[in-house]
Every structure is written in C-alpha cells, then in structure tokens.
C-alpha cells in the first residue's frame, strides 16, 4: 500500500516536471539577463536585399528617428507569428523598420514577403550571418529598437502583442 502510494506520488511529480519542461520548450531562449541596452550599434556594410549595391550602416540609421532592426528569414517559423505585429508597427510615424534577411534564399524570401506583405522600410541581406553576429544576435527572429545609434531594447524571439505596445510606447515618449 505504502509503496503504491509512493510510486504514484513520485510518478506524478515527474509528470509535472515533464509538462513544465515541455511547455518551457515552446518558448525557448527564456533566460535574458536584464542589461541596460545603451550600447552603441555596430558599424557594418551590407548588401541591399534586391540588388547587389552595398550600403553603410551610417546611411541607414540617421540620427533623430527610431529604428527597429528585425532579423528574419523565410525558413523561420516564429517570424510568421510576429509578422502581423510588424505590419501594425509600420503605421507608426516616427519608426522605421529595417529588415535584416538572415541566411536566406532570395527567392524564398521574396515569396515570403509577397505572401505576407512587406512591413520593412529598408531591406538588407545577411547571406552568411556575419552581421547578425556583430549585433550579438542569438538566433532568428530577433529585434533591436534603436535611437540615436544606441540600442534601447533587444527582443529575443518573436515580438508579441505586449512587446509591440511597449515599442509603440517607447517611440512616442
């Protein structure tokens, strides 16, 4: 009797463990240390998305506006999830959205934008993922809010409804 009780109890305990970890898997990258992002943005040169011309980061981030650098890719599933929020953010007057197309096939990326519509004001491509490394990105999607060449906020993983509102609030201060 006692053994039965004990074994059920322990099994239950591990079942709870399992469920929690299972659920935890759904939102990976949960551990983000709370660093104040007043860091300067890195300088880089990159190719424009649909031409072979190159652009300097200085030409993209001009001082007084707010910029959102969004790292995305057509193969990235959570990117689809955050897409509607990016479309919403596009309506913001003093926010420009810069899309960094990460390690992607150009045709797939174009199809992706056609299918879901294009939220980006400027599109640059990062064929081999080096620019993402310079930004210290962990993966795709990842988003940086930039003002006066400084990173105000870094979002690891897809933008959610709450995060979208937070961005709107920050840009309207």
């Amino acid at each position: 009797m006692r053994i039965k009780f004990l074994s059920t109890l322990i099994s239950l305990l591990f079942l709870i463990f399992f469920l929690v970890l299972f659920k935890g898997l759904k939102n990976p990258n949960i551990y983000t240390p709370s660093i104040i992002y007043e860091k300067k943005i890195p300088n880089f040169r990159s190719q424009l998305f649909d031409s072979t011309a190159e652009i300097n980061s200085d030409e993209i981030f001009i001082d007084d506006k707010f910029y959102l650098l969004n790292i995305w890719s057509s193969w990235c599933v959570p990117c689809r999830y955050e897409h509607e929020f990016l479309i919403n953010l596009k309506k913001e007057q003093n926010l420009k959205i810069v899309g960094l197309n990460y390690k992607d096939n150009i045709d797939n990326a174009k199809n992706y934008l056609e299918e879901l519509s294009n939220p980006y004001d400027i599109l640059i491509s990062d064929k081999n993922g080096l620019i993402a490394i310079e930004w210290g990105a962990y993966g795709v999607p990842e988003t940086f809010l930039i003002h006066e060449k400084k990173i105000l906020k870094k979002i690891i993983g897809p933008i959610s409804y709450d995060l979208m509102n937070e961005i709107i609030e920050l840009t309207n201060l």
Partner: protein, 625 residues
C-alpha cells in the same frame, strides 16, 4: 564520399541494435551461456559507428562542404588540428561522438563482466541497447551529421573562434566518457535490481565503472573550467552558468555514489542509496543534454535552437525516468540487513551525514538551474539566478561538511572510539590559530570566510598527518580529501585576495594607482593563418618596483568575422597576472583590465590531486584490504 559511407554505416548501426535486442531477449529466456552472437553484433555495432565517425572526421579534414555539418562549422584556412576537433565542436558531431562512446562501452562491458551471472550481463546489455537505440534514432532523425547540400558551397562558415582552443578540443570527449560511463552504471543497476543482485560482489564489479566515469567527469569539468579561464577572458574559472551546473550535478551524484559503493562493498548496507544515486547520475547527465541541446536555456554552450531536438530528448529522458521508477518500485526488494542501526561514531555514519550534505548541494544547484524555467512557464516572469545565490546557500554548509570529511576517515567501521584524541584537538587548535593570524593580517570581515578557512585547514592538517603516519594505507581517499581541502583553501584565498584594475588607455599613456603603475608602451599588428592580431605591450610596475611586461591580444578572425580578446596570463606559483584588452568603439582608447589572481594554479592542481586519488583507487584490488 566519406560522408556517404558514414551515413550508410550509421543507418546499418540501427539494425544491429534491433538484432542485439532480439538475441538478448531470446538469450535471457533460456540461458546457460551467453550467446556469442550478442558479442559479435555489439562489436559490429561499435565498428559501424566508428566508421561513421571517421567518415565525418575525414569530411572535416578534406573540407567537404557538400556536408552541411562541415559547411556550418569548418573553413579551409582552419589549422588541421581544429578541423579534426571541429568534428565534435558542434551539435551533430558531438552526438555522434556520444553514440560512439556508448557502443564502445557496451563492448568493454561484455569483456569486463565475465565473472558476473549471465542473466545479469544480458539484461544490462539489453538496457544499454535501449539507450543506444534511442540515441541512434535521435542522431538520424533530428541531428544527422551527414545532410547533403547542393550546390556545393566553396567555403564553409567556420568554427567559432572561442572554440579553437586546445583545452576545449579535448574537453567534450573527456566529459562524454564520464557521462556515458554513467549509462553503464545505470543499466547495470536496473538489471541488478530486477534480478535482486545488489550485493557485495556486484558493488566490487561496478565500482570500477563508477571510478572511471568519475575520473573522466572530473577531468572534463576541470578542462572546461581551464578553458573558461584562459579563453573567455572574464578572469574567472566558474560562473555558475547553467551548463556548468548540469555537469556539476552528475558529478556530485557520482561522488556520493563512490562513497556509498564502498560502504556497500564493505558492509552490505546503503543499498537504496546506491540504486537511487546510480539512476540519478545518468538521469542528470541526460537532463544536462536536454537543457544544453534544446535551447531551453541561454548560455555560452547553446548551439542548437531546434525545438524538435529538445522534444525528442525530453521524451526519451522521461521514458528512462519512468522505466527506472517502475523497476525500482516493483522489483526492488529491501535487503534484510537494510534495517541496520548506525552507531553514531562510525565511518558509515559520517559518510551518510556527508551524503545528505551532498544531496543538499545537489538540490541547491538543481533548483537554481531549473527554477527560472518553472517560473517562466507558470507565471511568465523572468529571473536569472547568479553566483550570489549559490555562494550564500552552499558556503555555510561547507563548514560541517569539511569537518565530517576530516573526522570520518579517522573512525572505524561499525563502531569506534575516537583515537588519537590529542592530535585531533591539537590540530584543531593549530587550525584556529593559523586562521586567526591570517584573518587579522588580511582584515577579513566575514566570520563565514574565517570559519571555512579554519575547517579547511583542519582537513588539510589531518590528511597531511595521515600521509605521514598511515603511509600507503587509504592513500587514494586521503589524497582526494587532501586535494579537496587544498581546493577550498585556494578558492577562498583567490576570492579574498584578488585585485582588479579597469581603465581606458591609449598608446603611450600611463595609469597610476596606489598599488600599480600601468604603462601602455606599444601596439603591434601581426597576420596569422586565419586571423589578424593586435598585440599590446604594457608594463606593470607594482609598489615594490617590480616590473612585468604583459602582451594582451586582440584577434580578428576572417571566418566567421569575429573579434576575440586573448587574455595575457602570466601564471606564477602564488599568483596569476591576467590582462585583457578591448576596443573602445570609434576611439583610439583601449579598455584595459588587469587582475592579480592569487593561487589560480593551485585550483587546477588540487583538482588534479583529487582525480589522482580516484586513479589510485582504480588500481587497487580491494578497498581497505
């Protein structure tokens, strides 16, 4: 070509797994002698995985970028040594290595267990085969190292420069030998429970595996720590990073297991301890794999962020846990001797007390590591657990822990008196006096630190005396405990006495403080095979006028284009001098960080002493003969 052979070889390996399982079940039902086919196929399985692994290594050496793993992690300009070690410097390759060691250990087990009962051997192999099969499917299904890409790229993406370090090159294989060794302990324990074979004989036989896993795990952790110190440039050796913690947890369980196995071998008690610890050691190793590979945690080690992989390991891990729970509750019979009474003054009592302390340390680390995940899931609140949590919860309990470590080995089995009372008390007084003198000179403000120093010295002196009086008796235990006291002392003095200066300097400038004068003399540029480097020349002058030249380095790798800062470390017998240099964006200033870290080398050395203790024990026929 090589990766094609590798792929087919790996796929055939799965079938050998099924064949071995089939023969084992058949053999288990009707057995007088072990079926030779099990042996042949186990060997074949190992051989196939070995071919597959070599196939990957050759792909890496030839820079065959049609292989996705090679493309993602290698580059033609990489030195040959790092091309080879790059094989296991990534998720796919490291899992293949894991599988290789698993199959190798299964073969070794067959040869090493000849004197054991046949049914026990077969059942162990059967459990081992379940684990091997799980890993086969995992590798093939979610992380195949042999994915083909077309068109073939001309150049690979390169191995992360921070992984290009000799200590890190051998760190994964050594650590894996430890982790995987615990799989044999796991399988063997389950089969011994089913067959009711938890006994002195079994303890003597499995002890070797416990010791081997423990030695490799210890060395693996040591190498990881050395890498973090020399390469990461943060100036520390242990950061309580979740991934460090998941290697420390199985180590704690394994260390406790060693002590329990010895008691089991000697007195036939503590059976339940042994069973539960054996199961948890392997489960914790698997749990580590899950946490690292699933991307559920963010840390320096997180390479893969593929939820499918995480899901597979999670399900596999919990299947093994439920299997163990089932076997434990339905087959485990308590030994009649298990209703023992422990006399309060005996060796086994002190072992049991320290077992509980170890379990406490283990729980603290476990909670610190997985609690943030639970909190996030339940309340979507994010927290990070840092060193202060671990230090505050672990440090105070080191005091009684050290005390029992010192006293325990002086006692006899079953029932004893305290012998040599005078020495024990005398040494204690000496330790107190010595610590007080140190505390006064260093102006220690924390009582806790002083107390830890007292008890570390106590352990230190007692073990030292044992070397002199007992000579070779119990040498392994004494050496390990001596090493531990040295380790705690080095860590504590390292913490207390470390000094640090952070400043921004440009070439030609001088920084002055009370203790040091730092002069930034020159900066020179060098070109190397796959990186460019800037080497600074700085002259440190301390208050006594002694000078030292430090050459911290900045490296800019070509592929991937990452800059790393190579610390210049001058290792000395009593202190390390540590300097890093970083670029300050868009300015001619460099950020200079100088640290003086006492007793660093003693930390590595004392861990080596502890390991040597284990090694000696391995070569001894019987414990306390």
């Amino acid at each position: 070509m090589a990766s094609l052979i590798g792929f087919y070889s790996l796929s055939f390996g799965v079938f050998t797994s099924l064949i071995i399982t089939f023969f084992s079940v058949k053999n288990f039902k009707s057995s007088k002698i072990i079926d030779n086919r099990i042996l042949y196929f186990s060997f074949l399985q190992f051989f196939l995985v070995l071919i597959s692994f070599l196939g990957l290594v050759i792909s890496f050496i030839n820079s065959d970028f049609s292989n996705e793993t090679v493309f993602n992690n290698s580059h033609t300009t990489k030195p040959l040594f790092y091309k080879i070690t790059g094989t296991w410097g990534n998720h796919e390759g490291s899992l293949l290595l894991w599988l290789l060691v698993l199959t190798l250990f299964a073969v070794i087990f067959i040869f090493k267990s000849k004197r054991q009962p046949i049914r026990y051997r077969i059942l162990t192999l059967l459990f081992q085969q379940i684990i091997i099969f799980g890993f086969f499917i995992f590798v093939l299904k979610t992380s195949s190292p042999f994915n083909y890409i077309y068109p073939i790229p001309n150049e690979g993406l390169g191995l992360n420069p921070i992984l290009q370090d000799p200590a890190l090159a051998i760190h994964p294989p050594i650590l894996y030998l430890g982790y995987v060794g615990s799989s044999i302990i796991f399988s063997s324990t389950l089969s011994a429970v089913v067959l009711n074979y938890i006994s002195k004989e079994w303890a003597a036989h499995i002890k070797i595996w416990v010791l081997i896993s423990w030695i490799f795990l210890t060395l693996g952790i040591l190498l990881g720590s050395i890498w973090a110190y020399y390469e990461l440039g943060w100036g520390g050796f242990w950061f309580w990073d979740p991934v460090e913690n998941v290697s420390l947890m199985p180590w704690l369980a394994l260390t406790t297991l060693i002590h329990c196995i010895l008691v089991l071998e000697k007195r036939s008690i503590l059976n339940s301890w042994v069973v539960i610890l054996s199961i948890s050691t392997f489960t914790l190793s698997m749990c580590g794999t899950f946490l690292v590979r699933s991307g559920i945690l963010n840390s320096v080690h997180t390479f893969a962020n593929d939820p499918e992989r995480g899901l597979f390991i999670l399900i596999f891990l919990f299947s093994l846990i439920f299997l163990s729970i089932f076997i434990f509750f339905f087959f485990y019979k308590k030994n009649s001797k298990e209703n023992y009474t422990l006399f309060f003054l005996s060796k086994e009592t002190s072992i049991v007390i320290n077992n509980w302390f170890m379990m406490y340390f283990l729980s603290v680390i476990l909670i610190g590591t997985i609690y943030p995940i639970f909190l996030e899931v339940i309340s979507s609140e994010r927290i990070s657990v840092g060193p202060p949590f671990y230090n505050k919860l672990i440090a105070p309990f080191l005091i009684p822990f050290l005390f029992f470590m010192a006293i325990g080995p002086q006692l006899k089995w079953i029932k004893s008196d305290i012998e040599n009372k005078i020495y024990l008390i005398l040494l204690f007084i000496i330790s107190i006096l010595l610590s007080l003198i140190i505390a006064r000179n260093l102006n220690l403000e924390f009582l806790l630190n002083t107390l830890i120093i007292v008890f570390s010295f106590y352990l230190f002196f007692i073990t030292l005396r044992n070397f002199l009086t007992k000579k070779y008796k119990n040498l392994s235990q004494n050496l390990a405990h001596f090493g531990f006291s040295l380790l705690i002392l080095s860590i504590i003095f390292n913490n207390i006495l470390a000094t640090e200066i952070i400043t921004n300097l440009k070439v030609g400038e001088t920084f002055e403080s009370k203790k040091y004068k730092i002069n930034f003399e020159t900066l020179s540029k060098k070109n190397n095979q796959n990186y460019q480097s800037f080497v600074g020349k700085l002259i440190i002058e301390n208050s006594e006028g002694l000078t030292e030249v430090m050459n911290p380095e900045l490296r800019i790798y070509n592929q991937p284009n990452i800059s790393t800062s190579e610390a210049d470390i001058k290792t000395g017998l009593f202190a390390d001098k540590f300097m890093t240099m970083n670029i300050v964006q868009n300015q001619e200033y460099f950020n200079i960080r100088y640290q003086n870290k006492p007793f660093m080398i003693w930390i590595w050395f004392s861990v080596l002493l502890i390991t040597t203790g284990g090694l000696i024990s391995l070569f001894k026929k019987k414990y306390e003969n």
